[in-house]
Every structure is written in C-alpha cells, then in structure tokens.
C-alpha cells in the first residue's frame, strides 16, 4: 500500500451493537413517558374544592424495552492526493418490540395502550462524496454530495392486532410503517361534479378480489374500500453543496433534496372542503367543477357534502431546498495589521432561500410520517456580519478549504525532515569516526615528529651489514588502502619468508603520493601500512609482534606518482 500513490487514506469499518429505548412520548405534551406499564390516574380533575382524578392509562405489566440491533459497515477513502473523499456506510437496524399505541375499542374508555407491538427494520446506505476539481495555491473548488437511501419495513406484528389503523395511516406487516390507507379517487364525474372513487368487491376476509374494481360516487362505499398507497419514505435524500475559495474570499452553497415519498396534506384537504363561512379557499378551488361537461380534478363545492379521505390530497413529497448561501471575505493580514487587528472577516449569508415542492405552501420537511400542521415553514433569514479579532498571537483559523492541502504539505515536509535527520545522524557518526581517525593521525604525526627529532639528534645509524634487508613493495590504488588482488602475491612473499624464517621481523612503511590534503594522505599512509600488517596477521597468521607497521606520510621518492602509493615492507634478517 505504501507505493500506491493515488490512495492517501483508506479505512474499512464495521460495528454491531444493541441498544434499548424506553422513550415514549406521550400525547400532545411531547414529554417522555416513564410509566408506560402503570395504571395511572390524572390528578388534574379537581371538582371545585375537592380533589378529583380521571384514569389516564391502562396497566400493562408486559411492556418491555424496545431493542434496536444496529449493524454498520462501511469504508472511508481519500484518493488522488486528497482530491476525492468518499465515505460509504451500509446499515441495518432491526427494532424489536416496537413501543407503539395498540388501539382498543373506544367504547372501553381508552383509545389504546402502550405495548410492544412488533418488529421493524430500517436498512439502507449512506454515502458522501467530496471532490476537489480545482486546487491551486490561491483557488480551491470543492463539491460535496451526500445521499441516503433507506428502506423501512414492518417485519412482524402481533396475532391479535395484525394491522393498526390510525386515521389515514396504517401499520401493517410487510409494508413501511405509516403506509397510507385510504380511498382512491377516480376523478370527478363530468356530468354532475361528484367525487368518484375506486371500489372493489371483497372476499370473506375483507381483502380485495382481483379484477372486481369499479367506480362509485358513494362515499360510504369508498370508506370501506381503501387502498394502500405508499408512504412518506423517500427513495433517496440528502444534500448537495459546493464551495469556492480564492485567497481570502469564500463562497459556499448548501442545498438539500429528497426524491420520492408522499405527504398527506390534511391542511390542504381542509382548505379544499371548507367548514366555516369565513374560511379561505385554496386557489386550486378555482378549478372546481361548475357545470355539466366540465372536466376537472376538483369536485364541485357542496354544502355539507361528505367526502371520504382520499388520495387527491396525497402529494409527492419530493423537494429541493436551497438551505444556505454564504459569502465571506477574510481581509488580508497586511491591511489589518496596520489597524492593530490580527483578523477581520466580513460575511453575508442567507438561510432557507428557497423551497421547491410539488404543492405551494406545503412543507414536506414537517415530520417522518408525512403529516402537515399549522406551523411556520423555516423562514428565509438574511445575515450580514463582521468579525474582528484584536490582540496578539491569535492565528486566524486557516480557511477550511486549504486545510487538506496544508496537511498534505506538512506530511511531505515531515517525511523530508525525517530523511534529513537520518542523513544528519549518519553524517554525525561519520564525523565522529573521522574525528577519531584525525586524532589518531595527529598522535601518529606527533610520534613521527618525535621520531624524526630523535633520529636527527641520534647518532647516525650505522648500517649493519650483518643485517640483511629485503624490501618488498606493495602498491595501492589512488586513495585506497585496500590490498588489491594483483598485489597479494607481494604480501604473500613477505609472509612466506617470515614464516620460513621465524627470527625475521618486518617493518612496514606506508606512503601516500603528494596530491591532495595532507591529513588525508597521512591517513592513507597509515592505512596502507596497517592493511598489509592486517593481512599478514589475519590471513597468514604471522605474529603481530614481529611486524612494525607505520605510516610515513607523503613520499616523493619517485617522480611517477603512482609509485609513491606504496607500502614498503623491510624484512630484517638477523
């Protein structure tokens, strides 16, 4: 992986966990119910000055935790030199013992009670992608896209209550939770403007007999022939964003989107079928049927007409919202430092700029079960601001867009630093070694000087002809101290003689040619003498005390330079 250049970071992850949840929200006050199992009386029913209480919940000792088993798996990747960032997560969440209201017959005095009514599964995939098409020193452009696809299904309900109906929604096995269940509109009768509905014949279990559908204008028949008509669940939803930054200027845009799903707009339904004299119609009411022959989708307005809740008011929930646009400019440091500031930023942003939906005025973001209510849609908000930083040693945070680039640069520099440090360490050890050699050389030089002085001051040396010398030369390459293969024979001659004449000793004098630095040459001379001694001792087993090896420094015995690169072995024969 180290050499795969286009992957900067890649990680794979998986997790599994089981969580419990007893957070039931209770009715209109939206506070959690901690007492779902108890039979409780509500004490807020005082009768004049007497305490009074009315029963508010049924005892259910069997109610237990709602468990949710979550499995997540996914991977994160940063590719192409931090230009592309991809996160993908797959999840599977199984909710067991769902805590919901199980309906009771209203005539029992209760609308229902909290019970573990079944199991439900949410399974889906979330992905986010971030691309940097352009990154230069001054300019960067990023695009971020996120998407989620979720599939919800009710897995199991109890035998006693296989279908829980609540208004226009139903919880039924095998379907997403809060599937819409209502009459299906068949348009408007052009001859009299009545609402038409699809109806069907039923078998003994109350299910539709295939192939028996027909159209009726009776709303009471329509109320008994309902269809399952999808749910609020979107096919895919997420966000799209992009941002640009150039020097100190940044522009970012964030949008959100959702595709698929339906909303039952009950407010729209009531605006199309008014109850009160002074209420206002929705403008779609202008399309109503008015005379025989009109072909339209809005039935005629009739006083006290009974309408079955139907899918005319099921609206496609897809939407696209521009959530935020922000433009900001960080003033250059050299401008503001003159004013004594360490950072200044001017920004303007608009939140909730636009919401595009299938029906004007509908807010599909209201809740997950696809309802609507009288509440304010998110307001469009304009914000303008200036941020000034005074004081010292406060680094203005780098614009977020450059952090990745900076990080990669830092990492590169760190690598280089590591290399340089390694090299420096090597150099240091080498230096220490050289220093040691230099010291040795200096000592040797000092010895030589002493010897020279001694020799000068000493009596002339009498050549003792009784001693016999033999000189053997070992040549060395330029700047080298190692004994090359062709010179080995010379060393062997010395070794052979020494071996056969145990009383003989040897003096090895190493020389270097005059070019180059003196210190270096002294070292070479020493080395040349030493390497011959080494080979004699180690390779040929000559006793070290028979050999005296010393560098003699520079030699200019011969005009031919290469002849000066020698070790001269003087064998002293007694």
């Amino acid at each position: 992986m180290q050499n795969v250049g286009w992957i900067n970071n890649l990680s794979v992850k998986a997790s599994y966990g089981e969580q419990g949840n007893d957070m039931l929200t209770k009715g209109n006050d939206m506070l959690p119910t901690y007492y779902a199992w108890q039979s409780l009386y509500d004490l807020s029913y005082s009768n004049a000055t007497n305490i009074g209480a009315l029963i508010s919940s049924l005892e259910n000792q069997n109610v237990s935790w709602e468990k949710s088993q979550n499995f997540n798996a996914g991977f994160d990747a940063i590719l192409f030199n931090h230009r592309l960032q991809l996160n993908v997560d797959f999840y599977n969440r199984l909710t067991k013992n769902m805590l919901l209201n199980r309906p009771m017959a209203l005539s029992t005095g209760f609308t229902g009670f909290m019970d573990n009514v079944g199991d439900m599964r949410n399974r889906g995939v979330e992905a986010s992608l971030r691309i940097t098409p352009v990154r230069t020193a001054d300019f960067e452009w990023n695009i971020t896209a996120m998407a989620t696809h979720n599939k919800n299904k009710v897995i199991k309900l109890t035998k006693e209550a296989p279908e829980l109906i609540s208004g226009v929604r139903v919880i039924k096995e095998g379907m997403p939770i809060y599937t819409y269940y209502m009459a299906k509109s068949a348009g408007v009768d052009p001859s009299n403007g009545h609402s038409l509905y699809w109806a069907y014949e039923k078998d003994d279990d109350g299910n539709m007999v295939p192939g028996t559908e027909y159209i009726t204008d009776s709303y009471s028949v329509a109320n008994t022939c309902k269809y399952y008509l999808g749910s609020r669940q979107a096919d895919i939803f997420g966000s799209l964003g992009t941002d640009f930054s150039w020097k100190g200027l940044t522009l970012s845009v964030l949008t959100t989107y959702s595709l698929g799903g339906k909303v039952y707009d009950s407010l729209y339904a009531s605006d199309m079928n008014l109850s009160y004299l002074s209420s206002t119609w929705n403008k779609n009411a202008m399309r109503r049927w008015q005379k025989p022959g009109d072909v339209t989708d809005v039935p005629r307005s009739t006083i006290a007409e009974s309408i079955a809740a139907n899918d005319r008011f099921l609206i496609d929930a897809s939407y696209f919202a521009i959530k935020n646009i922000t433009l900001a400019w960080a003033l250059p440091n050299n401008w503001i430092s003159k004013l004594g500031m360490t950072g200044a930023r001017i920004f303007g942003s608009v939140d909730n700029l636009a919401l595009f939906t299938h029906l004007d005025g509908m807010d599909p973001q209201y809740n997950f079960s696809g309802g609507t209510d009288y509440d304010y849609s998110p307001n469009r908000t304009y914000t303008v601001g200036i941020e000034l930083n005074f004081g010292k040693a406060y680094a203005a945070p780098a614009p977020a867009v450059n952090v990745n680039a900076l990080n990669s640069q830092i990492n590169d520099l760190r690598a280089q630093l590591a290399d340089a440090q390694g090299a420096a360490a090597d150099a240091n050890s080498r230096l220490a070694q050289l220093q040691g050699d230099l010291d040795a050389a200096n000592r040797a030089l000092a010895n030589c000087r002493n010897d020279l002085n001694a020799a000068k001051n000493a009596a002339p040396k009498v050549v003792d002809n009784s001693k016999q010398y033999m000189n053997i030369l070992v040549h060395f390459p330029k700047s080298g101290t190692a004994i090359t293969a062709d010179q080995r024979a010379n060393v062997e001659r010395v070794a052979a003689y020494l071996k056969s004449h145990p009383e003989a000793t040897c003096v090895i004098k190493g020389y270097a040619s005059p070019e180059g630095k003196e210190e270096v040459n002294i070292k070479l001379a020493n080395g040349r003498a030493a390497s011959v001694k080494d080979m004699l001792v180690k390779k040929y087993g000559i006793a070290a005390n028979r050999i005296n090896a010393a560098g003699q420094g520079i030699s200019n015995m011969f005009d031919e330079l290469s002849w000066n690169r020698v070790s001269i072995c003087e064998i002293i024969v007694k």
Binding site: L40, S46, T49, G52, M104, F110
Partner: protein, 515 residues
C-alpha cells in the same frame, strides 16, 4: 505506603458503587399521577376518582382532539340537544359552534376525532369506564356502609346516566326495542378487554334500569348530598323519572318524581326579573339556589372561559353576539302576559334569550345547572296525566305555575298529542309539555323529549329560523319519529379498535334512512 492508600481507596470506591437501594425505596409513581389501587381501598379515597368524573362532566378538552369549545360536558350536550330541536334558534353561525348540530351536518363526520360522533361516544364511555373501576371495588372498599354506599351508588348512577344518553343518541327510540344500540361493559377495562358487539335497545335499557335501581338502593343509605355536583339519592330518583318517561312506565315515573321532590328538600323558586341580568346570581347560574338539585359548582380557576355554556348563551358576552340564541316566536306566544318567564326573552331583540348569563362575567364564572326541582314537578304532572290521574297532574302543574303566573289556570284534560310539536290538541298533557318547553328552555335537551313523545317538528322561517337551519333536504325525516335523522353515527375509531364491530354491518345510516 502511598500505594496502599491508593489501592484501598479504589477498592472501597468500587465496593460502594456496587451497592444500591432496596427496591422498596424505588419510587415508581410520577408526581402528578397516582396508581389506581390506592384509590379504591376506602370510601374516602374513592371520592377522588368520583370527583374526577364530575369535573370532566363540565370540562372541555379531553373528549375530542379539537373543536373543544363545543364539548364542555353535560351542559354542552344539553345545548346540542336543544339546537337540534324546534324551540331553540341560533340566529347566526358565529364561529360554527353548535351550528353543525343544528343543521344536522355532523353525521357524515364520523371518521374525524373532532366531531360529535367521537365526542359523545368518548365522553359517555369514559364515564362508564371510570365508574366500572369504582363499582368493581364494591366488595373490597373499606368504610362504613353509608360511605361506601354513597360512593358506589353514585358510580352506578353515573353508569346508568351514561348508558341512558348513549341509547338515546346512537339508536332510535325505546319502542324500537330490537334496533342495534350500543356495546355494554360492566367490568373494569384491562389491556385484555376486547370490544363488545352492539347490544339491542331492550338490552341496554335493561342495563340502565338495573343500574339506576341499584344506585337508588345504595344511595338511600346516605341520602345527604355532600356536594352539589354529586348524584345524591334525590338526583338518582330524578334520573329514574327521566328514564321511566322514555320507557313510558308512567307509574314508575310518577313515583320516582314524587320521591325525588321529597328527598331533595328543594322548592320551586320564583322568577325575579332583576336576577336575570348580566352578573347577577339566579337559579340558572348558581348551584346554591333553593331549587337546584344537581349542578356543577365552577370555581373561577376552573372556569372554561370560551369553552363554557354562558359564552355561547349570553347575548352580551363577547362571543354570544355573533351567534345569538333565540326562542321560537311560536313558543313565546304561548306565554300569557303575566307570566314571569317573559323576563327570559326579549321580543324587541329578535326574541334574544336573557335566561342564561354569567354570574360574574369578569371571571367567567357561572355554575351549570343539570337538574332542578321544577323538572320533577313537570315529570310528575306528565306521568300522572298519562296514568289517567288528571287531578294529580293539575296539582303538580299548578304548584309550578302558581310561582310563574298568578293568573294561570287550566281546565284541560286528556293525553292527546299532535303529530307535530306545533299541532295543538288542547289536551292537558300538551299543556304540561308546553309549560315544560317554556320552563326548561335551553336546559332540557329538547330533541330527546321530541323523540320520546313520538312527534315530529317543523322549522318555519316565520318563527325566526334562519336560512341555514331550515333543513330543506330533511323535511320528511323531521316529521317522522321512525327516521334516523337524529340517530348519530358511530365513530370510525370504534370500528378500528373493536374486532366485534364491522363498519359495513354495524354503522348507523349516515342519511335519514337506511340505504
């Protein structure tokens, strides 16, 4: 040394973390609620759930999910019965409260949890469910037999009253004894309770009779009414007289009404015109008056404000002007010129009512009166007349009328009754009923009385009816006591939760007649 302390400390800390309180000390009840078993243990504590039922009988907001301003308990349902009748006219729609009842436009809305079908069903069955819990503790409740009788007797009476109103609302009249009526529950509701199928009219009235007789028997041990909202012995007898009139058991009705008058200790009050003005106390807005047998005493912090009776009734209250309540001019014309009740309506203002006003409009205070002794006199008079005893009937009638009109007298006899409430036969029974319509105007739940008399009614615009309430499409049904015009549909929520009721087979006709 230091290491020892460190290990010791960690060890002790760990051990301390492992200990916990015993489960006895675990408080499982929230601070604003109590669990049921504590209440039913003795008769004093059992008054708490009983008072809770009575409070809900005059409080709005719990029986529907919205439209709560027309759902403030018994008085609201009485008003609903009035606007559905022939004497009580809403001059204008206002914000729509009670208008849809008056226009007979609520039956189609049974799928909603905001309209009358859901409202009445939920209210009465809530009272039945709460009463069942109290009744179930009859054997185990501690306390003197008087105290226990006082509590249990009221629970039976509440159950009888609730089934009585349900039967009159969701089925046709008593004489259609095999018509499907409402489901009956006698046991406390548990999570295992399944929905019951519809019983017949005869079965429900049998339940009602058993319950009210049991209530009277138990309450007889402790006849004193400890609070004006409690159904005392006298009130239970009064309810029995109402039930018996519907069942046309005239002897029982007479007996019950007579006993109720005696047991109540109340007497007929005169109508003082000066008392029927805004911010004055009278026997329509104060329970302390000498003729009130049963009513809700509403203290100022429990007043319903907009969701209250006087807001709808009073012509001077902020809302009342937009939906004025008027008497039909036909009925007004039946009063003689010296009748003190003329103070209750002003012909110069379109027959606007003056009977119902706040006793203190600043604090929205006004009590609700649910039964007063005058009704008992009228019940007794009618029952006596129907039993053939015109003399006794006239006695009771004169007892009332002497306090209403000094010049009043009548020679009428007999029980003949017209097909319409505006048909005049000149019988004594009819005279008693006309005096009832005047006396109990706005209080009686008129449509229920019309039904039990097997009469029809008309709404001519010359009597003061506005266009929206003329009911042009219901003319036949208005005159036909066998129609389903005033039989309410059962709410959709019942069919959704009750496996023994099928919307195709068990729903009442949405129109005036079955399809």
């Amino acid at each position: 040394m230091k290491k020892i302390f460190k290990y010791l400390f960690i060890g002790m800390f760990g051990v301390l973390c492992l200990s916990s309180c015993s489960s006895d000390l675990l408080e499982t009840e929230p601070t604003d609620k109590m669990s049921g078993s504590t209440f039913m243990s003795d008769a004093t504590k059992a008054l708490i759930p009983l008072n809770g039922i009575y409070r809900s009988m005059y409080t709005a907001g719990w029986s529907t999910t919205s439209n709560t301003h027309q759902c403030f308990g018994i008085s609201a349902y009485n008003l609903m019965g009035e606007v559905m009748g022939d004497d009580f006219i809403m001059g204008a729609q206002g914000s729509g409260w009670f208008w849809f009842d008056a226009a007979y436009n609520v039956k189609g809305r049974f799928t909603s949890s905001s309209w009358r079908s859901y409202d009445l069903w939920m209210a009465y069955y809530t009272w039945i469910a709460n009463a069942n819990y109290i009744i179930a503790a009859e054997e185990t409740m501690e306390g003197s037999s008087e105290d226990v009788g006082y509590v249990i007797g009221q629970a039976y009476a509440i159950r009888a009253y609730s089934y009585f109103m349900l039967a009159q609302t969701f089925a046709r009249n008593y004489n259609f004894s095999n018509d499907p009526c409402v489901p009956i529950y006698n046991e406390p509701t548990m999570t295992t309770t399944t929905g019951q199928p519809r019983s017949t009219v005869a079965q429900v009235y049998e339940q009602i009779d058993n319950d009210i007789n049991k209530a009277i028997e138990l309450l007889a041990k402790s006849p004193a009414q400890r609070h004006p909202s409690h159904i005392s012995y006298a009130v239970a007898l009064g309810l029995k007289s109402r039930i018996a009139l519907v069942e046309e058991k005239w002897g029982e009705a007479l007996d019950a009404a007579q006993k109720a008058i005696a047991a109540s200790g109340k007497s007929i009050q005169t109508v003082d015109a000066s008392a029927f003005a805004p911010n004055k106390a009278n026997f329509i807005n104060s329970v302390g008056q000498g003729n009130v047998m049963w009513g809700a005493q509403i203290v100022s912090d429990q007043a319903g404000m907009y969701a209250s009776l006087m807001t709808h009734m009073s012509g001077t209250a902020p809302y009342g002007e937009r939906a004025p309540k008027e008497i039909s001019s036909w009925l007004y014309g039946k009063m003689r010129s010296t009748d003190a009740r003329r103070a209750w309506w002003n012909p110069a203002e379109g027959y606007l009512q003056k009977k119902f006003e706040f006793s203190n409009s600043q604090t929205w205070e006004a009590d609700y009166i649910w039964m007063r002794v005058e009704e008992m006199y009228l019940n007794a008079a009618e029952a006596a007349c129907m039993s053939g005893n015109d003399a006794l009937a006239k006695e009771y009638l004169m007892a009332l009328m002497s306090k209403r009109d000094p010049n009043y007298s009548t020679n009428k006899t007999g029980t003949a009754l017209g097909n319409l409430t505006t048909d005049e036969t000149g019988s004594l029974r009819e005279e008693i009923l006309i005096q009832r319509r005047l006396e109990l105007w706005g209080e009686d739940g008129r449509i229920y009385t019309i039904r039990r008399l097997h009469q029809g009614f008309v709404r001519p615009s010359e009597y003061g009816w506005p266009d929206g309430l003329l009911l042009p499409t219901h003319q036949k049904a208005m005159k036909d006591p066998a129609s389903y015009l005033w039989v309410l549909t059962i709410p959709q929520a019942e069919f959704d939760g009750n496996e023994n009721m099928d919307i195709n087979k068990d729903q009442n006709p949405v129109g005036d007649y079955p399809e």
